[in-house]
């Protein structure tokens, strides 16, 4: 494994004055790895994803992304790191008044690319997710599956270093789920680290090289210590069943 892209050191998270929803998270994710985040509802998966895509800061501990300690990093530093992360939200979070094209183009526009640089890749990506003829459609006119594909296209269009997907196959049929997994594994083969939160056992089974990150009641289940001390090669073993 080339290096560590994510490192959590005794990270805890609480909302307001409530109890900690994540406790003493200690793990490292290798650069170029493929990870599934699993656990029962309420285990803290969404909270962990929020930490990973920098929508939330830990309330304690050290959180290192891309080699930088970000738990206490200045706010102004965040946009540059967020641009290196592609996120597929469970609720898609598409901008309702923008076309599918504009939604997919958003990361490139925010990164300052010109319209000439945007047009080709966005059309290509929309074609790849099977929405070439829906480029000008707005999200409310798209089906759930189509919206999910737009969200996936938006997450990967800027070739991020880290892709975080929350139940990316939750609203699509088996064929599209396979295509999405194929896209994610293809991105992973190109060097992108992928973290997928899912309950889909079939998806996990179809990706034997991936590692599991299992959360239960806000605590990481890592009986072998593989996540705290990752092996040298990706996919060398699963951290938890």
């Amino acid at each position: 494994m080339a290096g560590t892209i994510v490192e959590f050191d005794r990270v805890g998270l609480r909302y307001g004055t409530g109890a900690e929803v994540l406790r003493d998270l200690d793990f490292r994710l290798g650069e170029g790895g493929f990870y599934f985040l699993t656990g029962p509802s309420g285990a803290g998966k969404t909270s962990l994803l929020k930490l990973l895509y920098l929508a939330q800061r830990p309330t304690r501990g050290r959180m290192t992304l891309f080699g930088e300690e970000l738990a206490h990093a200045p706010r102004d530093a965040m946009p540059a790191f967020r641009r290196r992360i592609g996120v597929v939200f469970q609720d898609f979070r598409l901008i309702r008044h923008l076309s599918a094209f504009d939604n997919v183009a958003l990361p490139l526009r925010i990164a300052g690319k010109s319209e000439e640089e945007i047009e080709g890749p966005v059309r290509e990506m929309l074609a790849w997710v099977g929405l070439a003829d829906r480029a000008s459609a707005r999200p409310p006119t798209l089906s759930g599956g189509e919206q999910q594909r737009v969200a996936i296209a938006r997450a990967v269009i800027a070739h991020p270093d880290l892709i975080i997907a929350d139940e990316p196959t939750g609203n699509v049929d088996a064929a599209m789920a396979e295509r999405i997994l194929h896209l994610l594994t293809a991105m992973n083969r190109l060097g992108t680290t992928v973290i997928v939160a899912t309950h889909d056992v079939g998806l996990i089974a179809a990706t034997p090289a991936a590692q599991l990150i299992r959360l239960e009641k806000g605590v990481l289940v890592d009986p072998t210590g593989a996540l705290r001390h990752p092996p040298r090669q990706p996919g060398a073993g699963r951290a938890a069943p």
């Binding site: 920098l54 929508a55 706010r75 967020r82 901008i95 504009d102 990361p107 319209e115």
Partner: protein
């Protein structure tokens, strides 16, 4: 491009165009209307005060309470002083006519004792004290009175009203700024979802803020132009009605320079709205992660 007024078509699409339908342009139009009218009134008052002040700046009166017999001696003493450019006794008939307004026909009675009043104009820079002393030496009991002193209460009132108008203009500007802050925060709340997505994808606060600033600037400018046009119409009607008075006074109450100030007000409001909106947006955005 960092200028918030110049955004690409794609950036423009990020926030649904509400055009000038929201409350901001209406509010700004009303504020600008009031501001321009109050500003025009303030300038007119200031100009009137200047006209009155310059008209009486170097004008004095010699008043002799007990009769016209001593008037020639007082006038001669004044005329002999350096810097005195005009000495003219107010004709007794004029005094009687003035008195008649107060006393009725009794004002015309021959045995009514009349004071003598002599108008004296001095060159600017002349010491009025020296002239007054010379007159009092020649005619003991004669009083040498500055017209400005007599009109000081009026000038003071005009200055006070001018300051009040300026204060009102500033207060309206502050109220406009407060309205823009509220509108900016409202816009952020309305588009919270879009902003969260943009932030999540790596947009900076500046990138988010300028999408809103542009729209607020356009709304403020549109409102400002409408308000200023309405105010201009009202002012033109008032000035048209007052043309006789202005001709008599010899000076229009609002000059071309003043009009430039008034035209600058809506632009200043738009600029203020833009800067205030930007500040408010960035402050509100900084409160988020």
């Amino acid at each position: 491009m960092n200028n918030p007024l110049f955004v690409t078509d794609a950036e423009r699409r990020m926030i649904p165009p509400s055009g000038v339908r929201g409350p901001v342009p209406v509010l700004i139009a009303i504020m600008t209307f009031v501001m321009v009218v109050v500003g025009a009134a303030g300038l007119a008052l200031s100009n009137t005060a200047s006209v009155v002040k310059s008209g009486v700046e170097n004008r004095y009166s010699i008043q002799i309470a007990d009769g016209a017999a001593k008037a020639p001696a007082a006038a001669a003493a004044a005329r002999a002083q350096p810097g005195v450019v005009r000495v003219a006794q107010v004709p007794p008939e004029d005094l009687r006519r003035t008195l008649e307004r107060w006393l009725g026909p009794a004002g015309q009675e021959a045995d009514l004792p009349l004071p003598a009043i002599i108008d004296v104009d001095l060159k600017p820079g002349t010491d009025p004290g020296a002239v007054g002393k010379a007159v009092e030496r020649a005619v003991p009991g004669a009083r040498f009175i500055s017209h400005r002193t007599s009109l000081e209460p009026l000038l003071k009132a005009l200055r006070g009203l001018t300051l009040l108008a300026l204060g009102l203009v500033l207060m309206i500007a502050l109220a406009s700024a407060a309205a823009v802050v509220l509108a900016a925060r409202g816009a952020l709340d309305t588009h919270r979802g879009t902003i969260e997505v943009m932030h999540g994808i790596g947009a900076t606060d500046d990138q988010v803020a300028r999408l809103f600033v542009r729209q607020i600037a356009i709304d403020a400018l549109a409102g400002g132009v409408v308000g200023a046009a309405a105010a201009g119409t009202v002012i033109a009607l008032i000035l048209g009605g007052a043309s006789t008075a202005t001709m008599l006074a010899g000076t229009p109450p609002i000059g071309w320079n003043d009009l430039l100030w008034l035209v600058a007000l809506p632009l200043a409001i738009a600029l203020l709205a833009t800067q205030v909106a930007r500040g408010a947006l960035l402050k509100a955005l900084r409160e988020r992660l």
